[in-house]
């Protein structure tokens, strides 16, 4: 197997894993499948551009140096996610999971239309850090620098998140809340704090993906994020709803399988790659309906 393929699989898998984490984190603490996550991403993308309906995007924040741009975009992602919790989801705390999901759809469409009103519907060409597209020599393979940075960033994020979840008080509370929110509250764990934190982290993840997508594709489109959130949802189900390691592993797996299918399917079948990918998903779910990485002790809860 060539090294390029490994990098492709890792970066796509990492992107899926990141998106799946954002979904799983919030599902874990409040049983909400947040489909608006995709529009959080799109919002962060458009935050880079000066509002206008022109076909050519003029960078606003996007023209700032990286050390300003990156924290600002992350902050915007956090702000939007936290705001949606405060304005929408907090008031639906006792609602059925299905109602919550519908609310997240609705919120996503509202955000998408706000973007449409401000920026118009046509995809815009955006140039963010074009130098990162250059291939560099890495372990004897020609790999785009961007891909290395993406993989490195995601690995760093996973390490930071794991350490945070393992060794901080809020991390402990989040893990407990994901397993049994009711019991955690009986022990004095504050629901609002934990849920707010889950939204904040999911906002960071959405902003990260926004930057990765723009840098990779060079396009800003109000629809971007919609398809990744679907894959993220599939990955969380595949990983076992509510299991964070499960979501990450399933995300990686989906990305890797998708990359392999793209590389090894007969050329005439490649356009239908997703049919094979999702066919495999169905097979996996038939064999393990509780998800790939669920502990039996946790599965009865969901």
């Amino acid at each position: 197997m060539n090294l390029q393929l490994v990098f492709d699989a890792l970066s796509l898998g990492g992107i899926y894993a990141t998106a799946a984490l954002g979904v799983a984190l919030i599902f874990g603490v409040m049983k909400l499948v947040n489909f608006a996550q995709g529009q959080f991403l799109a919002f962060c993308v458009f935050a880079l551009i000066i509002p206008s309906k022109d076909a050519v995007a003029v960078m606003g924040l996007g023209a700032a140096p990286a050390y300003v741009l990156i924290p600002m975009v992350l902050l915007i992602g956090v702000g939007l996610a936290v705001l949606s919790e405060l304005l929408v989801f907090r008031h639906l705390r006792d609602a059925e999971p299905v109602s919550l999901m519908v609310a997240s759809f609705a919120l996503g469409i509202v955000i998408q239309n706000l973007l449409l009103m401000t920026y118009g519907g046509r995809p815009k060409a955006v140039s963010l850090w074009p130098n990162l597209g250059k291939p560099v020599d890495f372990l004897g393979a020609e790999v785009p620098l961007l891909q290395i940075i993406v993989i490195f960033t995601i690995v760093l994020m996973l390490i930071l998140l794991s350490v945070g979840l393992k060794f901080t008080r809020i991390g402990l509370e989040m893990r407990a809340a994901a397993e049994n929110f009711g019991m955690a509250r009986l022990l004095g764990v504050r629901a609002n704090r934990v849920i707010m934190m889950a939204f904040a982290i999911s906002g960071v993840l959405a902003a990260m993906l926004a930057l990765i997508f723009v840098a990779q594709t060079g396009v800003a489109d109000v629809r971007m994020g919609s398809s990744i959130v679907l894959i993220a949802f599939v990955a969380t189900v595949l990983g076992g709803m509510g299991s964070l390691p499960g979501a990450v592993l399933a995300g990686l797996l989906l990305g890797a399988v998708s990359t392999l299918l793209q590389a090894y399917l007969p050329v005439e079948l490649r356009p239908f790659r997703d049919a094979f990918l999702y066919g495999l998903v169905i097979v996996v779910l038939l064999v393990r309906p509780q998800g790939l990485f669920t502990l039996s002790s946790v599965s009865n809860r969901i």
Binding site: L186, G188, V189, R190
Partner: protein, 241 residues
Amino acid sequence: MSKIAVHDLVVSFGKLMALREVSFLVEEGDLVFIAGPNGAGKSSLLRSIAGEIQPRKGRIEIDGTIVTGAGPEVIARMGVSMVPEGRRVFSTLTIEENLMLGTGMRRDKAAIAADLEEIYTTFPILKERRTTSAGALSGGQQQMLVIGRAIMTNPKIVLVDEPSLGLAPKVVDEVYNQLCALRKERGLTLVIVEQSTSRAARVGGKLILLNNGEITRQGRVEDFADDDLISGAYFGMESGE
């Protein structure tokens, strides 16, 4: 001022009435048993006090403060700790993480460490396996863990829902020994739900008999006629009256 005061509490799930105007008082340091058959509303009563269930009507006071409608974390922070039915350990957390989870509201670091040491002394098995997943413990060990976990919140009131459920009689004895020891040592107010009255007959304290969502009788255990308690291993309407 009573430690817990419940006034005309009504709890319903849809059309099903779980509690119909239940009133009682618990004084500081009391040991109170709430007993009654399946579906009598015992758990609903305990969970209402803990803030897990919002009552339809009525009022709950803790230390004279009205807490009706407050969330469980608010009530936990007032010094009320619940040991729920079925134990509910966090099986994805280690034993020590389970114990430490409830200390988030405490600021007394030294006292937290001392409490942890005390629990480890009382239940050496927990110390031995402190870094292993709590899911690997046996039922009896899990019961000790959740009692320890409740104590780690430094509570004034501990609510225990059917501690004997699914445990061997010998283990139940040990659980009760520990509960009573902790109560004495820390001056806890202890409210225990059990299906049968046999444990209350042995341990003493106050007894509240609940049936069909209503209190059929309450008083000190010794004031209940002996035959009541013996026949009351499984309470019907008659034996409570």
